[in-house]
Symmetry: C2
Amino acid sequence: MQDIVKFPKVARFEYTVEPFQEDCTGHLSWLELGNKLLAVAGHHADDRGYGMKQLLPEHRAWVISRMAIEVGELPKVGDSFVLETWIRKVYYTFTDRCFAISKPDGTPLGYAFTIWALIDTETRTPVNLMHIYDGKITDWVDAEKKCDVAPFSHIRVKTPEPEREIMACFSDIDINNHVNSIKYVQHVLDVFPKSMFEARRVRRVEMAYHGEAHYGESLLFYKQQNSPLEYDIDVRVPDGDGERKVCSCRVNFE
Amino acid sequence: MQDIVKFPKVARFEYTVEPFQEDCTGHLSWLELGNKLLAVAGHHADDRGYGMKQLLPEHRAWVISRMAIEVGELPKVGDSFVLETWIRKVYYTFTDRCFAISKPDGTPLGYAFTIWALIDTETRTPVNLMHIYDGKITDWVDAEKKCDVAPFSHIRVKTPEPEREIMACFSDIDINNHVNSIKYVQHVLDVFPKSMFEARRVRRVEMAYHGEAHYGESLLFYKQQNSPLEYDIDVRVPDGDGERKVCSCRVNFE
């Protein structure tokens, strides 16, 4: 019989940037970073008994609602980095999940703040977390650990014409059968010219997920410049006579 | 002082499929598989003294010319897998590099066969490998180890109109400042409908790299069906009044 492991509130994972996990500037790509953040969130939740592993068979699924990632210089190929994740807060159907990104010696590289909802996969309605395993999830809350991310913004894109249009392809779709949350980040950054990333570093990416896009749908990217280094991007999908918003993003360069 | 490590001819790397490294069918994605193959090739060469780490400062670079990957069922999230790579043959400016993909217990999952050229990064001309470190690279050749991949094909696409057109974006470009070799594999597979991957497994992907595509260029995908489960795809870039071919691919489903 397996020993029962006592997991700490904060989960810690160490990675090394492998060749081809970097973008053309030589730093860990945002796609890799984002996917690793979601992966460690999954490991943290699975290990503590309220991950997809336990909840999916009970027709429950975690859905990401908001995400803000703020970073300094990202690691390069061969560099090791540490991702930590923990639950900051649990309120009804939502949890706040934090992330710290650091060098193995503890030097901070950045933070991420996310909001997740638990939904019933059959009715697609929110589930009260206090009704799952008698609300035991609150045992894992760490309200103190530092997560230095500015509050979420109100993103209002008024640009009349899309900057870019792509079709959601096979490679965009994840195991949940909709466009992957982090793939939107990649597609949003692809609205900017390569020269922008060579001249400037992405300091913050913020995502508000409003709905799902599916295979074969057109993704329209509406881009609006708020200030010299701040841009808002709406991702919308043609729907009947109009469009529905699938996510809104803010990108800050420095 | 560091001990000098005696590296074997065959390098062995073990990985576990992390969440979000899978495609929507739940198996390791071809993008992840391809990038891991290139990464272990780099590690193998670096560790043995003729990798980019040593050669790039001397204005030499490895360029992939041909690649064929044949697989059975790819691993799923949480599954571990082993990649082995070795040099099969060295001839003038070219080397044949093989890969074996297997379960940790040794059960084969697939193989890959690649051809690489060493070029002078200033003149873009091939370099004779026998002139690099007195041809010491031949010490690493393993001509015997099994690599069960069918020979390369002659790909001739005659389709008059492209099936798909995309622009090479920031995320397509790698550290060498051109479209990443494995990104072509992803884009080529995206020419097929998602339902194809749900009904059929990709058994073999073959790539012949003819040239480079750069940021901002249009990539045109010409698709031709050879038989019920075999397709050839040419990737071409508009160039002056005509087009230049950047790669040709064959995809076999089963």
